[in-house]
């Protein structure tokens, strides 16, 4: 403790050089931290995806198109392709989903609903659209991917996915709406100028999640606490070319087994070419691998930069510490004359470095957190979740390495100090 208080008091007397040294270190830790997060995000996304969805790396495929076209021509051909896929041997299930917004009206407690949204949307981009709620429309074929539970009411059933336009559409509500919307409550929305009536049949458990409408790999899931979830029905699924186009990125095929991939893939691609549209098929595992490869370059570059900056910082710390020892020879000598051992002097220098590196590492991580918190990207929330013990452990390990490599040469220098040369001087 005594060593630390001497170290802090001594650093205070050299505050400018300590500040500059720390600035360099904070930037190094920031870049290094950024690299760690980039690397962890990929693993997190993969883990999250399979924790939330009953998908399989090798038997779940995603259908996509290089050139999505929101025309009648494309929609018609895509519809043919869908029918073909459903009948292809080896395809167990097929389906799409679409995440969009609706404006529920005539709820029994409309006011409470608006108040709930106002509370949930405060400080977000949605705060001026409290009349809207997000909704996931989905096909029966992929509803079973969900792992969420229903805490009140019932889940969607077979018959719910065969509703026609004009039927009352069953809907599940997110956990946050449990006190403002009751089971059996009905509400209306207008879609393509037609009135749709929904009836609430179940409440999702808290923190239920479903595939993100943006990019199910980069930003794997959406939290459904403030969402509705309903089966597709014709008017939202395929009444307009745009309805078809939006499903292009969110269409999945479940195979019977991984061995069927080549056969199913060849048949679908062939049919696509025949129809004049060019589909591509990839397993979820392949898509994750491609994403991983892509991110690897970014995170490797960040890691290289972080290490480069850290090495520069270590050189900086060593040279500043050595010149500080030289400049403080008199002070160190006086301390030794008064009874301090070389070990005490080494401890003071070590404490200084520990303090500088620790404060810089903490500041670097905090700076990184603030930057990520203000980042407006699909993975910003995931990155914030990375701020946990595994990340802190890595930062701590790097800090220890920085301290050890910075302190080695200065300690050797201290070992060589000759007391008679520091204070008294020879005749």
């Amino acid at each position: 403790m005594e060593h630390l208080s001497i170290a802090i008091s001594s650093m205070w007397k050299r505050k400018l050089s300590v500040f500059l040294m720390m600035t360099q270190l904070v930037l190094s830790f920031w870049v290094m931290n950024h690299a760690f997060i980039s690397m962890d995000v990929v693993h997190y996304q993969e883990k999250k995806l399979f924790a939330v969805m009953q998908m399989d790396k090798d038997t779940t495929l995603r259908l996509s198109f290089a050139d999505v076209d929101d025309t009648e021509w494309f929609a018609e051909r895509f519809s043919h392709l869908e029918n073909f896929i459903k009948q292809t041997p080896g395809v167990q299930r097929y389906g799409s989903f679409d995440t969009t917004s609706i404006t529920p009206e005539n709820l029994p407690n409309q006011r409470a609903f608006l108040e709930q949204n106002k509370k949930q949307y405060a400080g977000t981009r949605l705060e001026n659209a409290i009349e809207n709620s997000k909704i996931v429309f989905l096909d029966k074929g992929i509803y079973s991917y969900a792992k969420f539970k229903i805490i009140n009411g019932r889940p969607l059933g077979e018959a719910d996915f065969t509703k026609k336009d004009g039927d009352v559409i069953p809907v599940l509500i997110g956990y946050n709406y449990r006190d403002v919307i009751n089971l059996g409550d009905r509400f209306e929305t207008i879609i393509h100028e037609k009135k749709i009536v929904y009836e609430v049949v179940g409440v999702l458990e808290q923190r239920s999640e479903w595939l993100s409408g943006n990019d199910y790999i980069a930003d794997p899931v959406d939290n459904l606490d403030n969402f509705f979830l309903a089966p597709f029905f014709p008017i939202v699924r395929e009444s307009e070319p745009m309805d078809v186009a939006v499903r292009m990125h969110n269409t999945f095929i479940q195979l019977d087994s991984a061995e069927m991939f080549n056969q199913v893939s060849a048949a679908i691609l062939e049919k696509g070419r025949e129809l004049g549209i060019n589909p591509t098929l990839a397993t979820v595992g392949d898509e994750l691998q491609a994403y991983r490869e892509n991110r690897k370059q970014v995170s490797n570059f960040s890691l290289f930069m972080g290490m480069f900056f850290l090495v520069i910082s270590i050189i900086g710390i060593v040279s500043v510490t050595l010149s500080s020892i030289h400049a403080r020879k008199h002070e160190l000598g006086v301390r030794m004359v008064a009874g301090a051992t070389k070990r005490d002097i080494s401890m003071i220098i070590l404490m200084e470095l520990v303090w500088i590196v620790t404060v810089s590492a903490v500041s670097g991580v905090m700076l990184n957190y603030v930057m990520e918190a203000f980042e407006d990207s699909s993975v910003a929330n995931i990155k914030l979740e990375m701020f946990a013990f595994p990340l802190y452990g890595k930062v701590m390990l790097v800090s220890i390495l920085v301290i050890l490599s910075s302190v080695f040469i200065p300690l050797l220098r201290i070992k060589k100090l000759q007391l008679r040369e520091l204070v008294g001087g020879r005749d």
């Binding site: 006086v334 030794m336 070990r343």
Partner: protein, 228 residues
């Protein structure tokens, strides 16, 4: 058994053709409570002798015993303990830590003592008052006059409550008045039982002491006791 025993102590700096002999077979015995001055011209080896006496350096040859302990056998930690508890120094250049306060400088020997902060503060305050520099406690030592600095150095030596005070040209940077005051302080400390060794080339300063040792070219040429 004498308090300080130097038996045929030699000190050589450098090696082979670059070797410089600073002390040649010096033998000195000093009892507790003695007030000794070591006189000699520049380069005579008196500071080297003081460094050895103060455990800041070790002899190349011969034996040095302090209070019965053979100093050459001690490691860095044990030598530091002696410098902390048994020996205190007063230097010509004051040997104060620049940019530190008077309090921080005076409290320095208490660094490794098992005392509470309150006890340390009381002890430091006591000696600051005793030397009339209590009002300078928070002042940076680099802003003090030479006389004030030397008082701070003496206060530090007193705070250590060591049995032996080694003073290397303590009045060298002081005017006559401050020099005389300093020597009176050392006399007072000697009367309180401290053993004091002063290095000087000034006859007047040596006049305050009870025994004068002359050294020339690393050899003791005279060792005489006198009454002040």
């Amino acid at each position: 058994m004498a308090f300080i025993e130097l038996d045929n102590v030699s000190k050589v700096f450098g090696q082979a053709e670059y070797a410089t002999v600073a002390l040649k077979q010096v033998t000195i015995r000093m009892d507790k409570g003695e007030f000794v001055s070591i006189m000699g011209p520049s380069g005579s080896g008196k500071s080297t002798l003081l460094n050895i006496m103060g455990c800041m350096d070790i002899p190349s040859e011969g034996e040095y015993r302090l209070n019965g302990t053979l100093i050459q056998k001690l490691n860095d930690r044990e030598l530091s303990q002696i410098r902390n508890k048994t020996v205190s120094f007063v230097f010509q250049n004051f040997a104060l830590m620049h940019n530190f306060s008077v309090y921080e400088n005076v409290a320095l020997p208490l660094f490794k003592r098992k005392m509470s902060l309150k006890e340390k503060k009381e002890k430091v305050d006591y000696y600051l008052h005793k030397l009339g520099i209590a009002d300078l406690s928070d002042k940076n030592v680099s802003k003090l006059s030479g006389g004030q600095k030397q008082r701070v150095a003496i206060a530090r030596a007193m705070t250590a409550e060591a049995e032996l005070i080694l003073a290397d040209e303590p009045t060298g940077a002081l005017d006559q008045k401050n020099g005389a005051q300093l020597m009176e302080l050392l006399c007072q400390m000697n009367e309180e039982g401290k053993s004091i060794v002063v290095i000087t080339h000034d006859e007047k300063i040596a006049g305050y002491t009870k025994r004068i040792i002359n050294i020339v070219d690393g050899v003791i040429t005279e060792d005489r006791k006198k009454e002040r």
